[in-house]
């Protein structure tokens, strides 16, 4: 925190008021309703409401589909993080290496970031369509790819669709991280260590740690939340609900299935999961990295 500050006064609250006001009305209010839903059971139109304690939670824990979504969410966020971070890092390192055309490369690699996940999903749909999808036919010839029957194949489909635009975000952040490393550090290391690959892993990469961990969190939240639009426009969960993320399942049960109790309980579980990840990141990871 700052050493020099203003004393707390009414104006502090004036500055806070607009945002807090919006958050209270459009965020806290709905969240409170979500909690209420999670502990009650009601029909679709909100009648017959009764307090049921933890029944909704027991219902979802007892539901194999919930654990399938749980498993998929974990695998999906792990793989997406791994793929997008490593490709993003690879491209960033190469772009940082070249003498000419650095900014052209930057321009040519940054734009997919701006495309809406739902739009990415619709595009992916075209490439994995059995009728005219290039990738569908390529993979189908290679190993009989068929995403609506094989769980593995549907994972492949969603991983490709989900990673594509996220590589851009990773690229931008890694490149900025690389450029922030001072020249003198690099030059000094060049004398100590002649092998450029070893130099990268022993000197550069540790200096990129803050960026890496920041991106891990960004990628995980992306896989948790933003992939909603992709799933909704591609597999819709097929085969047999194996490719639903927790958010997508909560949405399907609540909005499509009209079961607000179960959806509320799932939302609250989701909040705890994300909270856990965040605290973990603050406590254990941020504390151990040294920012340059």
């Amino acid at each position: 925190m700052k050493k020099v500050q203003f004393k707390s006064s009414y104006s502090q609250y004036l500055f806070l008021a607009p945002q807090l006001g919006i958050l209270l009305i459009f965020l806290y209010w709905p969240i409170i309703q979500t909690f209420r839903d999670a502990f009650t059971m009601q029909d679709a139109f909100g009648f017959g409401t009764q307090f049921v304690w933890f029944d909704n939670f027991l219902f979802i824990f007892d539901d194999p589909a919930y654990w399938i979504a749980f498993k998929f969410t974990i695998i999906y966020s792990f793989v997406i993080t791994l793929i997008t971070a490593s490709i993003g890092l690879l491209l960033a390192v190469q772009a940082n290496n070249v003498m000419h055309g650095k900014s052209a490369y930057k321009t040519l690699l940054i734009w997919p970031y701006a495309i809406a996940p739902a739009v990415v999903g619709v595009m992916a749909n075209y490439f994995f369509s059995e009728r005219f999808g290039l990738l569908y036919h390529l993979f189908n010839n290679l190993w009989g790819f068929n995403w609506y029957e094989s769980v593995f194949d549907s994972y492949i489909y969603l991983i490709i669709a989900g990673s594509w635009k996220q590589i851009s975000a990773n690229f931008i952040f890694f490149l900025a991280g690389l450029q922030a490393i001072q020249r003198s550090v690099i030059e000094a290391s060049m004398i100590d260590c002649k092998n450029s690959i070893r130099r990268f892993w022993t000197i550069t990469f540790p200096l990129l740690m803050p960026t890496t961990f920041f991106l891990i969190i960004i990628n995980i939240t992306y896989a948790f939340f933003d992939t909603f639009g992709i799933i909704d426009t591609t597999t819709i969960g097929a085969p047999s609900g194996e490719t639903r993320t927790l958010v997508y399942k909560a949405y399907m049960d609540g909005f499509r299935g009209l079961d607000l109790g179960s959806a509320g309980a799932q939302s609250i579980m989701m909040m705890f999961i994300v909270l856990f990840i965040t605290i973990f990141q603050f406590r254990y990871i941020e504390g151990r990295i040294h920012y340059n």
Partner: protein, 435 residues
Amino acid sequence: MKKILSIFTILFTFSFTSHSYSKTEIHWWYGNSGFLGDVIIEIANRFNASQDQYTVIPTGKGSYEDNMAATIAAFRAGDQPHYSQVYDAGAAIMVAQVKNGVVIGFEEMAEKYGIKVDADNYIPGIKNFYADSDGKMIGVPFNSSTCLMYANMDILKEVGIESVPKTYEEFEAMAPKIKAAGYIPLVQSHFPWIWTENFFSRHNLLMTDGNNGYDAVPTKTLFAETDAFVMHWKKVKEWYEKGLYGYKGRAWGDNQAPFIAGEAAFWFGSAASFGGMKGVVPNFTVNHIPYWDSVTGGKEYPTFIGGAANWILNGHTEEEYKGLAKFIEFMGSPEMDLYYHNMTGYSAVTKGGIELAETINFYRASPYHKAVGEQLSLEGSTIPGGYRAGNWPQIREVIYENVEPMLNGKISIEKGLKNMDKGAAKLLKQFAKTL
């Protein structure tokens, strides 16, 4: 910055200018898109042109599921339309809402605001599907279809088959020939609807306890304990493995595509599907869906109504309901009924519409339209003409979740059907708690 802000303000104020009507507005939400949505708009336009007191404003909300969710969300928020299209799987939920004052039943509406179309003017099978347990019609029948079999006659001719199969036994006998000629014998577009719900009705079998929910709130589905259904599933799997049946995922269109492309001989779809295929598939016919001769002993039973009805929602002014009554009357007239039947392929829903069709010899000119009415009005069924089971949209999900593992052999047929029963029972019990 200032410039951007001022442009923004201009756009903002400009866009607030909205429609204003001196006429009474009646909002009608629907869950059809594309061509079917255009026909709905056309119906509203015709009504609006026919009188000058009321304006019906139709609004598309995406799919059936989207529209139902949007309608419910709107109702909970006190912002509901007057009239909303809700599909077959949501019928039980809507009927149950009469007592809560969400839905106004058709007959109550007719009594209060004098709709000239009588409930008995609607075809019994369709009327009963949207009626409460006392037989009072609640939802207003609208787009009513059922599952039918489309056949590519060119393929059949090429492999030397003369007539389309009436039974699954006949299909089984001819399918290998079709496959040998390089075609997919069969595709179908909706597992829960065609090969679950309508499997039961087509074979005169009960699908849930409580007499399909008509006598008592159902607590379980009868999938695994119905031998005929187990047998059917084993056959489906066998066909799938032999390449006699092709599964193309969950999406309706993906399963229809091979038929449109002339790669599949038979496709099970909706009565309303032929519009998109006329002129695209050169030589096709629309037929009854097959049945197992071994199950029914040669008898043919009707299928359930599919599609959707329109539901009157509570919470508006008397004047608006008067207008809605006029609109319901308008849509129930023989001319409009036949217009819709003709445009879309959905069944005519009123007796007047059917009579009119017969007087003008409509079916001679357009044989496509015939099968749906025929199949729906088959007689001899001893089971109810529908099912009253809550949470059915989610139960359809449960069915789908088990279809793929059963097809690819990850779980056995018995296990898969038991899973379906288990998942459905849980959802049915949950629904019963909220009644």
